[in-house]
């Protein structure tokens, strides 16, 4: 992809897109393909598909120190390291330096960020699940948060479009709470996962186990510039085959092919300019991350896709006489209702059998057990509302099974060269309700190196989540035990908001401008040429991984914006 820093402050662009991650990439593609001259702003450096993936074909022995970080490296990514996996030398270059990009925590919040072209679309887990009507009606039905201004039928055609374009492999199930999509062939379950699948089919009328729905191309399918998944399971390093979807491999090249995109890197967007006489936004203020120069770029519409917290921070920093508390913040909800998914609880066990079986290839995907709680009267729970789904998988243990032992000698070595027993783990991902009290604020007393206020997090799980977690662990134990697993152990490692890397909700959509920030088409209620389509727009969190929904919502909003612009409804 050509890097163009030839953005021109004198030009009136049709659109500015802030951010190049999973939402920004889709906004750029859709707006450019509709013929809009679009300036795309990215705060970090360029990452070109294939050529800028430094570890994509590296093995552990190719990395110094066997792929472990030095204490000095670890100190600079202290918060990023809280996930336990992202700061591995295979992917640490895709995650921010916590010292250069500070934030503060009234309560612990694990904010895991990628500041570069492609954002976290390079490193995402690729699990791609539709939300169902049970999710879009949840707030209305149980009274938490505000009602979504859209329903499943509004978003369904956009799910179709996104799935077909990015390539999602999966199996159709016909479940209302997890609608089927346009799928490439499903990946295979292994022998032990099939055992649990059979137990659920035979003995649990409300539950089903399926292979994960994942944004990796399978079968004979290809996409422009992308070939099928090669089953290396090294997605997070960046895929030279384009086997999985990222902005870098897919949407940004598509936007570039139109000739309508100008991509400006090292561009820290920090304010949207509001023209009170016209009642619209007129541009975006940017600081060059390297030179610290200030620029203002102008456009007729603005798409905020900087990811949940940065988008919200930009809106909060966009103060004017009309909007003293942040652009479009008449409701006072901007920065509130922070959501994520809570997880890191479930169970694992050993399967005593299939010892003469193994698998071939490294599947970048696991199993999924869709939500089965609180879907109807029969599944109603007394202790919590909403629900959770399980992700996990079975594999044969490797040599690390002997780490916590004192065995030694030739026999140990020969034994560890063979695959060990089958082990299966289930981890539940649960819904976090939208609580007004869970919020971010800006701290103007602590500025980053660009002189911008840092974000403070004040977010916690409450009783509904803590009650749900008990069931998340208990049902994992029940299912594995029923399938005959041995040594089944439940666990709850404790989860902190942010660790799910599914931040949502700080500029929510809603029907009423008094209680929400955005309307049904992701326009700011009060500033209709500002669209917000990343995770900040979400009105509830469901329990499914949210990226597919961000993409569908973005494509829908971009179509809306382009049509309004063409019809002259946006000046």
């Amino acid at each position: 992809m050509a890097t163009s820093n030839s953005a021109d402050p004198a030009t009136l662009y049709d659109a500015i897109v802030i951010g190049t991650g999973i939402s920004g990439g889709w906004a750029a593609k859709e707006l450019c393909e509709q013929g809009l001259k679009t300036l795309v702003l990215e705060r970090g450096p360029m990452v070109k598909h294939i050529e800028d993936y430094p570890t994509a074909t590296k093995q552990r022995w190719d990395l110094e120190f066997g792929g472990r970080n030095t204490p000095a490296e670890a100190a600079r990514q202290h918060k990023q390291a809280r996930t336990g996996y992202v700061t591995s030398p295979f992917s640490k270059h895709w995650f921010v330096d916590d010292i250069k990009h500070p934030y503060s925590e009234t309560k612990r919040f694990d904010w895991i960020r990628g500041y570069h072209v492609g954002g976290r679309s390079l490193t995402w887990g690729r699990q791609s699940y539709r939300w169902g009507d049970v999710d879009f009606t949840a707030n209305k039905n149980d009274g938490h948060g505000v009602d979504w201004p859209i329903r499943y039928e509004d978003i369904a055609p956009w799910y179709d479009k996104v799935e077909e374009y990015i390539g999602v492999s999966g199996e159709k199930l016909g479940l209302p709470q997890l609608p089927d999509g346009k799928f490439c062939p499903p990946m295979e379950l292994n022998c032990v996962e099939r055992e649990l699948q059979k137990t659920l089919a035979d003995d649990f009328a409300d539950r089903v186990l399926t292979i994960g729905r994942v944004a990796n191309i399978t079968g004979e399918n290809t996409r422009p510039g992308r070939s099928p998944c090669q089953f290396r399971n090294k997605c997070m390093a960046g895929c030279p085959f384009g086997g999985y979807f990222s902005s870098n491999s897919s949407t940004l090249p598509a936007a570039e092919r139109t000739g309508n995109m100008t991509l400006r890197i090292n561009s820290v967007a920090h304010q949207i300019v509001y023209d009170e006489s016209k009642g619209i936004a007129t541009g975006v203020k940017v600081i060059d991350a390297q030179t610290k120069e200030n620029f203002t770029y102008r456009a007729r519409i603005i798409f905020c896709c900087a990811s949940t917290m940065p988008t919200t921070s930009i809106l909060m920093q966009s103060k004017s006489e009309r909007f003293p508390n942040g652009l479009g913040n008449d409701s006072g909800e901007l920065g509130h209702n922070v959501m994520d998914h809570h997880f890191r609880t479930g169970a694992a066990g050993i399967f005593d059998g299939h010892n003469d079986k193994y698998y071939r290839g490294r599947r970048p995907n696991g199993i999924y057990i869709p939500r089965f709680r609180n879907l109807n009267d029969e599944t109603r729970q007394n202790n919590f509302v909403r629900g959770y789904g399980y992700q996990g998988g079975a594999s044969r243990t490797n040599w690390t099974r002997a780490i916590r032992e004192m065995s030694f000698g030739e026999q140990l070595k020969e034994e560890l060269l063979k695959p060990g027993p089958w082990r299966m783990g289930l981890t539940a991902f649960g819904e976090l309700l939208p609580y007004h009290a869970n919020k971010i604020t800006l701290d103007y007393d602590k500025l980053d190196e660009w002189g911008l206020p840092i974000i403070d997090f004040d977010v916690e799980y409450k009783e509904n989540e803590l009650e749900m977690r008990k069931d998340m662990q208990a049902q994992a134990i029940v299912m594995l035990s029923a399938a005959g697993f041995k040594d089944v152990r439940g666990y709850d490692q404790g989860s902190y908001p942010g660790l799910g890397i599914h931040e949502m909700g700080t500029a929510r959509m809603g029907r009423d401008p008094k209680t929400s920030v955005l309307n049904a088409h992701n326009q700011s209620h009060a500033v209709p040429n500002v669209y917000v389509t990343d995770g900040s727009c979400m009105t509830s969190a469901a329990c499914q991984n949210p990226s597919l929904t961000y993409m569908a919502i973005t494509a829908r909003a971009a179509d809306h914006a382009a049509k309004r612009l063409a019809q002259g409804e946006i000046s």
């Binding site: 074909t57 022995w61 090669q230 071939r360 040599w399 002997a402 780490i403 030694f408 695959p419």
Partner: protein, 194 residues
């Protein structure tokens, strides 16, 4: 960066060496620690029909980890444990650890590692505590286990993550191209390289 590769002649020297293991220059280890670690590594994963830990330069790997990857606390535990282990060696064999043979190190290591499951669990539990929390009379043994367990764990890491074992001993398939979920183990053989 790849691990430094020793020429085959040197590898066979290392594999058969019993007296003087110092055929490579350590970055961080003293001569004595280098000698002790080299023999322990050989005892933990010896050469047989398949390569041993010395064939893939595991002592050099642990020396690099010690100097570059270990935290200050880990370095201190490792170093104090190595000293306590060398002192114990001298008590038992009436000679300096730097002159010890492979058989002597195997005997001493066996004394620490050949424990009942219960005995091992007690040690692992104790290892979770800081030195200050350990009864002064048990501190030498505690430190010796800090050292021996660090050597053992990093021997496994260095061996199974090495290029030679990854490519020639385990099943190496960098671009599988497909996933088959349930195939006879007999068709595969050894475990896959990760």
């Amino acid at each position: 960066m790849a691990e430094p590769r020793a020429p085959p002649v040197l590898l066979s020297l290392l594999a058969s060496s019993t007296a003087n293991a110092a055929t490579w220059k350590a970055e961080s280890f003293s001569t004595e620690v280098q000698h002790v670690v080299t023999h322990l590594v050989d005892v933990i994963l010896p050469a047989s029909a398949t390569p041993g830990a010395l064939d893939v330069n595991v002592p050099q790997f642990i020396d690099k980890l010690y100097g570059n990857i270990f935290s200050t606390a880990e370095q201190q535990y490792f170093s104090a444990g190595a000293t306590a282990f060398a002192n114990r060696f001298k008590q038992v064999f009436q000679q300096p650890a730097s002159d010890g043979t492979r058989d002597q190190f195997a005997q001493l290591l066996g004394g620490y590692f050949n424990l009942s499951t219960q005995g091992q669990d007690r040690i692992f539990e104790q290892q979770n505590n800081d030195l200050a929390e350990i009864d002064p009379e048990e501190r030498d043994v505690y430190l010796i286990y800090k050292f021996l367990l660090a050597v053992r764990q990093n021997t496994l890491r260095g061996y199974f993550n090495s290029e030679k074992v990854g490519k020639e001993v385990l099943n190496y398939d960098p671009v599988p191209g497909r996933y088959d979920g349930c195939v006879p183990l007999a068709d595969i053989g050894n475990a896959w390289t990760l």
